[in-house]
Symmetry: C2
Subunit: 355 residues, 2 copies
């Protein structure tokens, strides 16, 4: 597939053999799909819960590079996944831009102040001036990269601009994100200004992540599915395009949850991997993104509550449905109360598969 | 289209001319699409807010037939929509089955006790034994039907079995409904037993609604989009099929939010109308449900926050994209804080349209 990126991905690694995850992500045919889980560095692991207990404040945890690096490595040690993903939060970007948030236990994020209009947007920092305050993430990446000792690649990530925008305007999670979506109709120019500021910041942030050791970058567009197709084309795709173009030296994954209607556009982005949620049949996605992308996903996270035999069967079926050019994952972040045995059954099934 | 249903729909009406909404719903070519809004009997109307203020407890409001009938008629008087929908709640079904719920202001429903397994399911009432306790809805329908004096048809409704199941197992709204979805993997037989009990109750309930004056029935599958396609085929479609088959005498609408992946199956249900959320392009839906259905929807509810000129433009575009055999509506319930002028711009644009 995209040979220059593949070459760069390999050269940034120290081993003689390029790791399975990066070979798959850059379009090589691999002996089996690599496997990792979104939110693998989290509550499913007893080690994580013990580490987390040392930090009453979630944000202090995120901002302590040694702790974040430790959480990053735990699933590699415990589950044997084929990639690590840096432990962090997509909301470090709004905070770096000047919009502080609180993490409310068992409820999620809350922004005491939200973006209501032009004046608020003008006051935000952006680009390097904002991303410069995220050294703690870069430090965590450097420690994790060193401690991994080349065992598996390290994934960096950020929220996609629309999703970050949604939080900044809405002020937290929401069933409808109607406040954020309203701005797209009622004040489209202001919306574009904010999306551009988020994009500029995200690009600098991700450049810093690559400089600190990230081998692949994933963009999470968690609220993609809230937009009508026309709005996704206008308010999401162009900013994803800018980010992908600005980071030619590493493979990139775009995971736009619920954006089944935008797969043709996502297929044209200069990214290597497209993440899929559990609603999207692999054949539907392949027909729309074309042959030039690797697909990632998409087992229903709820499947991991089933008996290990059921998990093994469903995982095997999923792999066969995707066929080659596939990275095995769930269709969303693993749910925090998933039994560890279920997670293991998933990982082990993929690792024992062979084409 | 389905001539027998069309004939019955007409004969149940007293006017010499069959109303626009029923003509469109039964497949006639109409001079313009009829228009109504999901959740039109609600907070968008000052009259509703005044009426609601007289009932501190939402459930007492729902159970007072005169009040429910009054709320049902308000949008007909105030907005001039082409159909009324009975003011009620989909959660009257779990309550009738023996699972009580509370409506927590600004938060939504909460079930103090949830369904955890076989024992809980066995204890539930179902069928006529459950639906018999819903006389207050039938009374509200009778009053509303009388007070409408044949001006517009009256829509009855119920939640689809999967959505009711989701609330009964989850215990309330949820970001993921992972608890409800878990049962589909971990205890599929128990899940089917519960879904059948809900279905039996819903059929009796809807028969009672038709006997009380409902001219069309809509099934709301609000959480359809949480299921993987295979599960929707196994745990949702067969129960929708049973309900549609049991009610041959009125036209029926199936609105499965987020179920873009199931449109072929929904297209084969013996219903007349298929509701669409705002993610689904009309042409995508038409290609999948076939020519034999009327489509309903699907303007983004957030569009009604825009300037009336924008609303008029977007509404006109939507109508043209759907073409004939279309009932104009939003892609979801109207958001409670939508400006009344925005709602009016939507309704008036549809009403002034002409093919």
């Amino acid at each position: 597939m995209t040979e220059p990126t593949a070459e760069k991905a390999k050269s940034s690694f120290t081993q003689t053999t390029t790791p399975l995850f990066l070979r798959a992500a850059t379009g090589e045919l691999t002996e089996r799909p690599p496997v990792w889980l979104m939110r693998q560095a989290g509550r499913i692991l007893p080690q994580y819960r013990a580490l987390r207990a040392r930090f009453p404040d979630f944000k202090v945890f995120v901002k302590t590079p040694e702790a974040a690096a430790e959480a990053t490595l735990q699933p590699v040690d415990e589950l044997g996944v084929d990639a690590a993903i840096i432990f962090s939060d997509i909301l470090v970007i709004p905070e770096a831009m000047g919009l502080d948030y609180e993490m409310v236990e068992a409820k999620g994020p809350r922004f005491p102040k939200v973006i209501e209009g032009k004046g608020d947007i003008e006051q935000l920092r952006s680009g390097h001036a904002a991303a410069g305050s995220l050294e703690y993430v870069f430090d965590a990446l450097k420690i994790a990269k060193k401690d991994l000792e080349g065992r598996v690649p390290l994934i960096g990530f950020a929220g996609a601009p629309w999703t970050i925008f949604a939080y900044m305007v809405e002020g937290g999670g929401s069933k409808t994100f109607s406040r954020a979506r309203r701005m797209l109709y009622a004040a489209p120019e202001a919306a574009h200004t904010l999306l551009q500021k988020i994009t500029d910041t995200t690009i600098e942030y991700l450049k810093g992540q690559v400089a600190s050791g990230a081998d692949l970058l994933q963009l999470f567009d968690s609220w993609a599915g809230e937009l009508p197709p026309e709005h996704y084309r206008i308010f999401a795709i162009p900013y994803l395009q800018q980010i992908c173009e600005a980071l030619p030296d590493v493979p990139k994954t775009v995971f736009a949850k619920g954006a089944w209607f935008a797969l043709e556009d996502i297929g044209e982005l200069p990214c290597e991997v497209v993440g899929l949620d559990w609603n999207i049949p692999p054949a539907f996605a392949r027909a729309r993104v074309g042959e030039g992308k690797v697909l990632q996903g998409n087992l229903d996270p709820c499947c991991l509550y089933a008996h290990p035999d059921v998990i093994a069967t469903e995982t095997g079926e999923m792999i066969r449905r995707f066929g080659r050019h596939h990275i095995a994952n769930l269709g969303h972040g693993v749910y925090p109360d998933t039994p560890l045995d279920g997670v293991r059954a998933f990982v082990d099934t993929v690792k024992s598969f062979s084409w």
